[in-house]
């Protein structure tokens, strides 16, 4: 449905998106997970024609964006990260205007608007000016406006950023609903849990590059199916080389007060801990857990997703 190849965007010196390639299958949710500034919005902006790629190509439904942008845009629904709605209009007026842009008129437009307002839970507030809406309500309307013409591919740019849990649940449910009807979704987020629970396929990106890509289970497999060991303590006098010599242990992070290790499958956590004590570590806290995407991000970038 969506094929992105070697997509690059530079702003002067800065390469915001650097050779991105991925394919979103029809009827699936493809996620782009990355911290602020990773290049998610820039990628979305290129796909929907707001930014001209420095190089690379975008195909939607087999149509080249560069060759026929209008045909591509007809298939696209865009939900921008920054809420873009007319504050002085009501929710239903916003939707009607937007539907009219896509050529919807009369009864078809009216019923479509009603349906969407119900879907995002704004039916009973539909005639109030948007100005008085809460952040969550505006986000839901922002989402509905991207869906009004029943697009085949919906680009959602952090649709749940900074809103109340209830609105978030509603939005996530709407996304699942439209996917169940056959819509393809490109979903960007910096929330790990969201990506993990929602997306069929995920690309983890940072500094404009995709670091890892695949289904959630494929990505987790990249961590190996060992256990994650997190230690708090006083590690200053201990040489990291000494620790890395311990069998079955891979260092992910090493600082004066904290260290993280991957204990490979087959190695015994107990033995590893004994060895660590033996190397003269002074420990205050020990955690053992199954790795998640957070740890994958950490492993790939050396830093946490949430700073």
């Amino acid at each position: 449905m969506l094929r992105v190849e070697h997509l690059t965007k530079s702003f002067g010196e800065l390469i915001a998106v650097d050779g991105l390639s991925f394919t979103a299958e029809a009827g699936k949710i493809f996620g782009l997970l990355g911290p602020n500034g990773a290049g998610k919005t820039t990628t979305i902006s290129m796909i929907c024609g707001l930014l001209r790629p420095s190089s690379g190509s975008v195909h939607v439904d087999g149509i080249d964006l560069g060759a026929d942008p209008i045909a591509v845009k007809r298939r696209l629904g865009v939900v921008p990260q920054e809420i873009a709605i007319y504050e002085d209009l009501s929710a239903v007026e916003n939707l009607r205007f937007w539907g009219g842009i896509y050529g919807l008129r009369g009864a078809a437009l009216r019923s479509r608007c009603e349906e969407l307002l119900r879907l995002v839970g704004l039916a009973d507030r539909s005639t109030e000016p948007v100005r008085v809406f809460s952040g969550g309500m505006k986000r839901r309307l922002n989402l509905a406006m991207g869906l009004v013409h029943g697009p085949k591919l919906v680009l959602l740019d952090e649709p749940t950023a900074g809103i109340d849990p209830q609105a978030r649940l509603n939005i996530l449910q709407v996304v699942r609903d439209i996917v169940a009807e056959g819509t393809t979704v490109l979903y960007t987020t910096h929330y790990l849990e969201e990506a993990e629970h929602l997306c069929d396929e995920l690309a983890i990106m940072d500094h404009g590059k995709i670091l890892a890509q695949g289904s959630i289970s494929e990505l987790k497999a990249q961590l190996g199916d060992g256990s994650l060991l997190t230690l708090q303590g006083d590690f200053d006098p201990v040489q990291p080389e000494k620790v890395s010599a311990i069998g079955g242990l891979r260092t992910l992070e090493w600082s004066a007060e904290r260290a993280r290790f991957m204990v490979e499958r087959g190695a015994s956590v107990g033995t590893v801990l004994e060895d660590l004590y033996g190397s003269g570590l002074h420990l205050r806290d020990v955690q053992i857990k199954e790795p998640n995407l957070e740890d994958l991000f950490l492993k790939l970038t050396g830093r946490e997703l949430r700073d």
Binding site: G49, L50, L51, K73, V78, I85, Y86, D88, F97
Partner: protein, 406 residues
Amino acid sequence: MRALVHIAVQDLRMHLAEKSSIFFLLLMPLGFVFFFSMINGSGDEITEVTVALPVVDRDGGFLAKAFVEQLRGENFRVEVYSPEEADTTVFGTRFVEIAEGFTDTILAGGQAKVLLTRRASSNMSYDLAAEVRLHEAQVRFLGNLIRWAGAADSVAVEEAVEESDRTLDSAEKGRFLALVAEPSTVTVASEFAGRGRPVPSGMGQSIPGVMVMFVVMTVLIGGSEALTKEKQLGTLQRLATAPLRRLEILAGKTLGLTLLGLTQAAVLIVATELLVRTKLISMDFLWTPHLLGLVPLLVCYCLCAAALGVFLSGLFRTTQQAEGLAWLIGMVLSGIGGAWWPLEIMPHSMRVLGNFLPTAWAMKGLHGLITFGLGPTAVIVPCIALLAMAALFWALGSRTLRVAER
């Protein structure tokens, strides 16, 4: 195309839905109309004007006397001064001088001189009237001269030409003076046209002025404020994600502003026409007889103002900037464009500048229709000028107002 109109209509609705729009679109311009109506007094007491036209007769010959007779007319006060009297008189406004040897020169077949001198302080429209009167007199005088010469005994005239008028017998002189006194056989119909026009004044200046000013203010302020806000909110960029061409979006926005300007003009036209018909104000003209020229002129003017608004809003970053600067630009355009006072009384440099301002062309068209009564064709040139400027502003606007990266 449908989407373009859809955008325009939606924009117009949003502009009109603003709470302040009733004030700016209706109340404020009507306040101006009442104000001007008051200071212009009631228009139905038409004051008879008499133009002073003193004549200094340095010739004293019978043809000079005959020429003076031709100058006299209903609205002209013609007093004759001898050269001696003239030396001790100060003419405050203007005076005509008949050069010495006027009669002899004409009889000799030469070119005689009549001079109109005007003081800088004198009223320009009266000066123009005097000048026109002088030309009329000239033509009548020549006509009579030809009749007289044709009927005269050719020998006598030839003699007179060879010698001098002193040899002409008094009968011949009398016959010429009698001819002059007859109702003129040559009628000179004079109308103001082309350059020597009167200066628009009274309600004929102020009401079109109010309209030109309020249209440009409403369109520039309303338009650039709304568009700057849309840039900031991202709704403009969002439009660019829809299957619309970039120019379609810009055209929709321009059309929306054009409709806003036309609404402003229509409100003023309907309101003033109603006020005049109900005798609440008096105006020395009505709009309705001029609709044929008025409509195309206003369409072109509003289009031009809208394109300027789109261009400017591309330059503004914040709505505060847009409000302040658009207001300022609107005021300057109105002032230099002749909406506050006629361009005719402004310094030459300003009048030249006026050729590059949409407001000035709109005023030209309106004066052509209302003050000069030139009919619908008077708006052709202003419309062309306005459309050319609209095209220029639009070309600039499509560069400044970035909807999406090209």
